[in-house]
Amino acid sequence: MTALKLYDYELDEQCYKVRLLLGLLGYAYEKVAVDVYPGGEQRSARFLRLNPLGALPILTDADMVLSGAEAILAYLARKYDGARGWFPDEPETVGRVVQWLAFAGNNLTAASTARAQALFEVRACATTANHAARRAFRVMEDHMTKQQFADAFWFAGNAATIADIALFPAIALSRDIAVDHDEYPALRRWMGRVRTLPGFITMPGIPAYH
């Protein structure tokens, strides 16, 4: 029996980041379904003890308790990826990976907010969030356009890292916030690459095809 336990909500793209990495690592874990909508169970006393922010995902590994998708990705990559491919050691790569993890945790919040507004009746200014999300997708598109000129086909270099996993769900699910993929040809090609990684898993709104 594995010690890893993920408190999870199937429709939450932050939880999907963790499920995706665990799928790619082929690592067994226990998934605990949390009633986020409409129950709001993640804000109950029981879950506030695990994460005072009242948000998923939460990962427990024996006595270790972690919350926040990017932190969990970094932890899992360091602990369970012996080859270190998902979070390499070279200082340059570490810098690039963490830069994009921070981008996923900051700039792409707008996309999560717009999606939560559209799907789960969370109050937010949809127009403002949508605008900020499109701006973030453009930064990603411009970056991947230039990466291709250097024959680097992933965000932090020429191999997939946890940065790609942290950035993938927001754009892959952008149709939930009425943003088509028409304007992002470089991201479209990159999303195709992500989908063909061995161990890739889907979530509602992200089909395997392409």
Partner: protein, 235 residues
């Protein structure tokens, strides 16, 4: 066929890899472009005749594209050939998707805007080796984008086809203008001359120029990000 029908570039060839489908628009009309496994490129109306789902969401297998909803499969002529829920059925020939004439030239995918034309006029663009740079999507009306390009020492290469040659940053670029919609324009940018003896430097410089051009055109620089405090926490 109307008097205004014409050839327009809708994508860079290298962005449409074999086995991929993509959505785009011409004058706000939704279009599905896809490349079969033999390298043939196709431009269709973006609607599955069954339930109206966008075919650009679908998936390509060999020389067919299948709808994401119920898996109806269409061949390269737009004819439905297989319906998974009725595998024994000899599919009626009149179940077909409306198709646009489509060719590749100058590293770009070109579509003729008139549907179901047997013999569209020849695309009047000379073949030339090019190095693809990028597609650039602008939140502005097509006429404004074309005027701003012309202001960059642009020369119209071909009157009917929205193709300009411009000199920027010591580079000569060829730019195809796609009238995407009432408030959106796409530019498809290539460098004349092939890959030989060139690293990524010229393409990076051209791409940086493109980002700057977009920022200037859309107003004057990127808008400030809204403070994050405006949002409530996601669930």
């Amino acid at each position: 066929m109307s008097a205004t029908d014409c050839w327009y570039p809708v994508a860079l060839s290298n962005d449409l890899e074999a086995g991929l489908s993509a959505g785009t628009r011409l004058f706000d009309r939704e279009m599905c472009i896809w490349r079969d496994s033999d390298g043939g490129v196709h431009a269709w109306e973006d609607r599955c005749p069954h339930r109206g789902m966008r075919l650009s969401f679908g998936f390509v297998r060999g020389d067919r594209i299948a709808c994401l909803y119920h898996g109806w499969q269409y061949d390269t002529h737009g004819e439905c050939r297989f319906i998974p829920s009725h595998p024994e059925l000899d599919v009626p020939r009149n179940i077909r998707v409306a198709t646009f004439p489509c060719v590749e030239r100058l590293g770009m995918v070109w579509v003729y805007s008139g549907l179901a034309i047997e013999r569209p006029p020849e695309l009047a663009v000379e073949p030339l080796d090019v190095l693809p740079v990028r597609s650039l999507y602008l939140d502005c009306v097509p006429a404004t984008a074309a005027q701003s390009l012309a202001a960059e020492s642009g020369n119209l290469l071909s009157a009917g086809s929205s193709l300009l040659s411009i000199d920027v940053e010591g580079l000569r670029l060829i730019t195809g203008v796609q009238p995407f919609g009432a408030a959106k324009t796409a530019l498809h940018i290539v460098l004349p001359g092939g890959h030989e003896g060139r690293d990524g430097g010229a393409r990076r410089a051209a791409s940086s120029w493109a980002e700057q051009f977009r920022n200037d055109l859309e107003s004057s620089g990127p808008p400030d990000d809204e403070p994050i405090g405006r949002y409530e926490a996601a669930p």
